[in-house]
Amino acid sequence: MISVHLILFLAFGAIAVAGAVNLLVQRHPINSALSLIAVMAALAGEYLLLGAEFVAAVQVIVYAGAIMVLFVFVIMLLNAGVEEHTKGSRVAFLFGIPGMLLGSLLVGWVVLRHSGTGSVGIGALPGTPKVIGNMLFHEFLLPFEVTSILILIAIMGAVVLASKPPSAPAEKVKD
């Protein structure tokens, strides 16, 4: 019989896929961004189903919240308009979509047929903030610390690239 779990999974999954497809078909970046947020929200739901409550929370707060806001901000800043068709795009449509569908079907088939046939129940592995934090500061201390550098770079990069460029360089004197 169809369990509640499965129904929920399918529901969230449907939303996610719908959002993803919408991201593709929408021609204005803003719409794409919003549909991406939808996808993320749906995924957050999936995470909850899997018991990763903390991850779900972070997904909503950081990902859907912070990062996507950044996107929307930039879109607004550059007031990107509707993307126009160009010669390259048709080729991409003709080959890209069927190719990708084929690829994903192949992968899906493989996964279905060959991966571990185990199945997971609701909240299979509760990822509470406590345990997660515990692990972050033990096994994953180094990666955790290192990410700080990553972020540092990111900030610096953003500063460098987005700031106003200097005047044109000067010719070397030939002597």
Binding site: Y63, L70, I153
Partner: protein, 100 residues
């Protein structure tokens, strides 16, 4: 009880959508968002596998991915701004000074 493979298929579909988006979108920002979509797909499979193996590390990875995503977003958007400054366009097909 939901078979693990369902989750995997879902993540696969999302990933594929991301790839497709990268190929067919022309607005640089949309393309970038497709990448985010791919990452999300990956995250899902991480969490799913975590549940499957009863290993929290799987969930931890998602954080790292998110951090990376954040960093990429920051840098990426900065780059996009820089490009826009020099080229006044966001259409990737017109960003082709370098070729052959």
């Amino acid at each position: 009880m939901v078979p693990l493979s369902y989750y995997l298929v879902l993540s696969g579909i999302l990933f594929a959508c991301g790839v497709t988006g990268f190929l067919i979108k022309r607005n640089i920002i949309s393309i970038f968002m497709s990448i985010e979509l791919m990452l999300n797909g990956v995250n899902l499979s991480f969490v799913a596998f975590a549940a499957h193996w009863q290993l929290l590390s799987g969930q931890i990875f998602v954080f790292f991915v998110m951090v990376v995503a954040a960093a990429e977003a920051a840098v990426g958007l900065a780059i996009i701004i820089a490009v826009y400054r020099t080229r006044e366009t966001l259409n990737v097909d017109q960003v082709n000074l370098l070729k052959l």
